[in-house]
């Protein structure tokens, strides 16, 4: 039941929001509402942990004749991502308070719709329902970028929409095909889909369709071309939603749907996909070396990180998968933090061109400290959240193929190169005209960043808490795959 509440609460909230015009009221409502959603997510976690481990299942036969049921539930994998979503959305909402967006009611409603769709994607235990939420998430994302984005937003969001939509359609076809291969009576339930009887050739086609859909969403090289532009042109809140959470939809789809269904084909063809993902790590890292736009640099770094997570899931062993799970959360936290700081800098300095910035640490030592911590998480320093995931993923990939791990490990070096270069140009050195009167963080802004910083160290120093949550389910999936 709690799952359903968690899913419907944002919807209810957004319906309420539509009745208000006053910006202040909207902000208070959206912020407290999303905080309440976070409380619900924590309650769900506590319930899951303490009482039942019963997947908090909610099921309602929807299209009975077709075998489609509104089936939502939570296992460890879902919980981790639901908590990430519920945590990041209030922070993202809070970060918008210093912006003056036109028609705020629609803006906040779209964010809430997005939250609901994301939670729907993560909690759906039924293939068709999963697909519906998957597509539903695209709509608010597109509107947020297209209505409140930068100058080139129309052309860029059009590409984003078409590209990701094309991928999703393939997934729908694959799901329907799978449906007809499920044991009688046909059903879209994930247990049924797992049990679908497929010939190797059929499985390969299904794998291709799934992989394409997820690879575009994540994005994996070379299906990434929509991403840097979209992240850059979106409003700050949009970039955070896209990179912090929406990216995880693709990775989640891999472990929940693609790996259990297509494990045979992955064993056969997975190397191709892994090679693509690893190529993307090096490719994106190299390109990030020369970016002058802060947001674009972060966008490229995200492609590199996402490539590693995709490769880790595809090698299908416990260490790499667990690493990818915790890295999904870590990446969500770090990239949201980086975009938050970019937003703070852009608002104060009026630019996010790296060449126009500099010396901010002189004026804003607190910001410099927060920025440094988030950066360290992002370049995977031990005792920060990024390390645990990268260590486990690279170790898992190493067990699969040592050479892959060595190449993927280059991300450790390149990540340090472009991130420290960026930090040096933006924060250190002498001040520039744009940064002359730079204000340090206010208390409210520190409050906004503090949860992220706490999580960076918590996850880095005591990751067991986070690793334990998805462990049984990841183990089960991998056991099933064997």
């Amino acid at each position: 039941m709690l799952t359903l509440v968690l899913l419907l609460f944002p919807l209810a909230l957004l319906l309420i929001l539509l009745f208000f015009r006053e910006v202040k009221t909207l902000r208070v409502l959206a912020f407290t509402g999303t905080l309440a959603e976070l409380a619900l997510a924590i309650a769900a976690f506590v319930q899951y942990k303490t009482s039942c481990h019963c997947n908090l299942l909610f099921s309602f036969d929807w299209l009975d004749t077709l075998g489609v049921s509104l089936k939502f539930g939570m296992d460890g994998i879902t919980l981790l991502l639901v908590m990430l979503t519920a945590l990041l959305v209030p922070i993202i909402v809070f970060s918008t308070f210093s912006h003056h967006y036109s028609s705020p009611a629609s803006f906040y409603s779209l964010i809430l719709l997005m939250e609901m769709a994301l939670i729907g994607v993560f909690t759906a235990f039924d293939g068709l329902v999963f697909y519906i939420f998957w597509e539903m998430a695209l709509i608010p994302a597109w509107f947020i970028c297209a209505l409140w984005g930068g100058n080139n937003r129309i052309r860029i969001t059009f590409k984003f929409f078409i590209y990701t939509f094309a991928g999703s359609i393939l997934m729908l076809v694959a799901l329907i095909y799978l449906y007809f291969k499920t044991p009688l009576p046909h059903a879209f339930d994930f247990q049924a889909l797992y049990a679908a009887a497929l010939t190797p050739a059929e499985q390969t086609w299904i794998f291709l369709a799934f992989f394409l859909a997820f690879a575009i969403k994540i994005p994996v090289f070379p299906f990434h071309t929509w991403q840097p532009d979209t992240y850059t042109e979106s409003p700050a809140a949009g970039s955070m939603l896209l990179a912090g959470i929406m990216l995880k939809m693709g990775l989640f789809g891999m472990i929940r749907w693609m790996i259990p269904i297509c494990s045979q084909s992955i064993r056969q063809w997975g190397d191709m996909a892994i090679i693509l993902a690893i190529t993307g790590i090096v490719y994106a890292s190299l390109i990030a070396l020369r970016q002058n736009d802060l947001k674009r640099l972060i966008a490229w770094s995200s492609i590199a990180h996402a490539g590693l997570m995709a490769a880790a899931l595809l090698v299908m062993n416990l260490k790499a998968s667990q690493g990818a799970m915790i890295q999904m959360v870590a990446h969500g936290i770090n990239i949201t933090g980086l975009f938050l700081i970019t937003d703070l800098i852009q608002r104060r300095a009026g630019t996010r061109n790296i060449s126009d910035l500099g010396g901010i640490a002189l004026r804003a030592p607190r910001l410099a400290a927060f920025f440094m911590v988030i950066l360290l998480g992002s370049i995977a320093l031990p005792l920060t959240n990024g390390f645990v995931g990268e260590f486990l993923m690279l170790l898992g990939i190493f067990e699969y193929n040592a050479l892959y791990a060595a190449i993927a490990g280059l991300t450790m070096i390149f990540g340090a190169v472009y991130m420290l270069w960026m930090y040096q140009r933006v924060m250190l050195g002498k001040t520039q005209p744009a940064t002359e009167g730079f204000q340090d963080l206010t208390l409210a802004e520190m409050g906004m960043l503090l949860p992220l910083v706490i999580l960076i160290f918590w996850m880095g120093c005591y990751p067991s808490f986070f690793l334990d949550i998805p462990f049984p389910d990841v183990q089960q999936i991998l056991y099933f795959v064997k």
Partner: protein
């Protein structure tokens, strides 16, 4: 107090210092910082002493587990510490020398606006270094390993207004990271081979392997890559001279006494793995010797007092690796310890000189400082004599032991190591004479007359000078009637590697005396030469460098290795970056994606014409379709 608590508090004290000073870096008054910063390190030192003495006769290794850090499947990495003679020695070096340098910093950094930040970072460094040496498994060592790299980065770029300094800091971090990737891959291979990363588990399994095992070869080489980065050996040494951009106490603590010796500690810790990999040992020997000679030869021509010391550090680290490569693990640790004393002393002395001259670092603009800075002069002399290897100072004993062990392994190795020792004596006394000998050649500002440093700075110098003088007593060899305390103390750690060492010819006492005599004679000759050249003839002040012979220019320009790396690595990656973005990304991939999109639109445009809205046409097509289907049915 419970042992466990004491052990945990040793690294936690500096961490506490960091947290307090870091959180209140704007509000805490300097006076309090001046007590807190060094105070927490002293607390760790005292706790380490308590631990040492309460252990009593029990020198066996003790492990302390706190909690499971990372786990996945059969992988289980505890946050645990190992207290054994080796880690105790390192704890003493880190907290002891660390404390002295912290006290010195109170005086040295007195007027710096970043006083609190400085001590916060220094405390964080000591915390990381303690984790590095105390961990009972490789990943915990790696926490410290990367942590000290971070602190090094933060402290090299401490004066971050200057982009040159920031470049140096970034270079240090990145070169370290290159090494760290090797370390990481080494750990992965360790895990896939032994299914554990705990020292105990790895070493007890490794003991049963055959010498020359190929997996061990790969493991030891990968780990050594990490050591090369951290301990500034060829080819990853170029960051260390640049790292001198940091405040001088940083150079003393991080870039001389402790952090850069982490690689030596790591190899000594993994002694069993290395002793079973003769090929790796040979590679280490070659790298070490090449580093000794390369760095020493560069040091001869440097003008910056700190750069000379930096190259000297690289060269001395080479000696430690040379010792490791011939299996003289306790010899390496001995030299590590005495080097920590005299190199910290030399750096702090250099700091005192720089302080007195208001920031001047060019030795050509110094000279005659003996009278103005008597304490600095005497202590600096002690350090110089110690590093040159003259008895009875500590450096003599530790270097002599390495040379002996090297000779026992190969006389050719010994010859090169001997050459290095001569170079060391020469460049050290060149610097010493140019700084303290003859007359003062620089200019002093009227508001900043030459002056001896305050007590907070000279007292640490005196303590370190005493340690550099008497440190040899730690491990006095039998040849001089000593009882090799340190070697016996460390013996349990290295005992398992000693069987593999047997079969080497022990050197007779007569040979030992002869070799020591040859070395000593050469060293004294070098000092004499330096004295004639720089004191009597007054050379070494050349300002017109184009008149130098070509080979001298090459050496003086550090063999242009930095330029080579720039040409081979930095430029190509930037070029590749641009190529990938401008050509591969925009011209190829993106164009292809857009092409597919446009093709779809064009097809749509074409198909649009079919939808004419003419019902007759639709009917016609339908009938045509039905006929075709029937036709095909008949065919099939």
């Amino acid at each position: 107090m419970k042992m466990e608590l004491i052990v945990a508090l040793i690294p936690l004290m500096p961490l506490l210092g960091f947290l307090v000073l870091g959180a209140g870096f704007r509000t805490i008054p300097r006076k309090i910082t001046a007590w807190v910063g060094p105070g927490v390190i002293l607390a760790s030192l005292i706790l380490a002493l308590v631990l040492f003495f309460s252990n009593g006769k029990n020198t066996g290794p003790t492990e302390y587990h706190f909690f499971t850090w990372i786990s996945a499947g059969e992988l289980r990495i505890p946050l645990g510490f190992l207290i054994d003679p080796l880690s105790l020695l390192m704890i003493f070096v880190v907290t002891g020398v660390g404390f002295i340098i912290h006290v010195y910093s109170v005086g040295y950094m007195k007027d710096d606006p970043g006083f609190n930040r400085f001590f916060a970072f220094m405390n964080l460094f000591v915390f990381s270094m303690l984790l590095l040496v105390m961990g009972n498994n490789y990943p915990v060592m790696f926490i410290g390993w990367e942590g000290v790299g971070l602190c090094s980065y933060l402290l090299i770029g401490f004066w971050f207004r200057n982009q040159e300094y920031n470049n140096a800091a970034k270079k240090a971090f990145i070169m370290n990271r290159i090494g760290d990737l090797g370390f990481l891959l080494g750990m992965f291979l360790l895990f896939t081979t032994f299914h554990t990363l705990d020292y105990h588990g790895v070493f007890s399994q490794a003991r049963s392997l055959q010498p020359g095992d190929s997996t061990l070869l790969a493991i030891t080489l990968l780990l050594f890559v990490g050591a090369v980065g951290k301990s500034a050996q060829i080819p990853l040494y170029t960051w260390l001279p640049d790292a001198m951009a940091g405040p001088t106490p940083v150079s003393a603590l991080i870039h001389a006494a402790t952090m850069v010796t982490a690689g030596v500690y790591m190899v000594a810790r993994s002694n069993i793995l290395y002793i079973l990999s003769p090929v790796t040992m040979t590679i280490i020997a070659v790298v070490a010797l090449a580093t000794i000679l390369l760095a020493a030869s560069i040091a001869v021509f440097q003008k910056d007092i700190k750069k000379i010391l930096a190259y000297s550090t690289i060269s001395q680290l080479g000696y430690m690796f040379l010792a490791l490569s011939v299996g003289a693990f306790s010899g390496a640790m001995f030299h590590l310890t005495t080097h920590a004393f005299f190199k910290a002393l030399l750096f702090l002395g250099a700091g005192s000189v720089i302080h007195a001259l208001g920031g001047e670092q060019d030795i050509r603009k110094m000279g005659g400082l003996r009278k103005a800075l008597p304490v600095t002069w005497l202590t600096f002399l002690t350090g110089t004599v110690a590093i040159s290897g003259i008895p009875p100072l500590s450096g003599f004993f530790s270097k002599d032991e390495i040379l002996m062990k090297t000779f026992g392994s190969s006389s050719l190795l010994w010859l090169f190591a001997w050459l290095g020792a001569l170079l060391t004596a020469f460049y050290m006394f060149r610097m010493f004479y140019l700084v303290f000998g003859n007359q003062f050649r620089g200019t002093t500002r009227p508001d900043h007359p030459l002056h001896e440093s305050p007590l907070t700075m000279t007292l640490p110098l005196i303590v370190l000078a005493f340690l550099s003088f008497a440190g040899g007593a730690l491990n006095m060899p039998g040849l001089f009637g000593g009882n090799q305390l340190l070697e016996h103390f460390l013996a349990p750690v290295f005992s398992r590697s000693s069987p593999a060492l047997q079969g080497e010819l022990p050197i007779s006492h007569a040979t030992e005396w002869l070799l020591t005599g040859i070395t000593l004679a050469g060293v004294l000759l070098m000092i004499f030469w330096a004295w004639r050249r720089y004191v009597v003839k007054g050379k070494g002040l050349l300002t017109d460098e184009t008149r130098r012979p070509f080979w001298v220019r090459i050496v003086a320009e550090k063999y242009r290795i930095d330029e080579l790396y720039d040409f081979l690595l930095v430029k190509p990656s930037l070029w590749l970056s641009r190529f990938l973005h401008d050509v591969v990304e925009l011209r190829i991939i993106d164009r292809m994606v857009n092409g597919i999109g446009q093709a779809a639109i064009r097809t749509g445009n074409l198909l649009r014409y079919i939808q004419t809205g003419n019902v007759g046409f639709y009917l016609f097509v339908m009938v045509l379709g039905v006929i075709l289907i029937m036709f095909f049915n008949i065919l099939i």
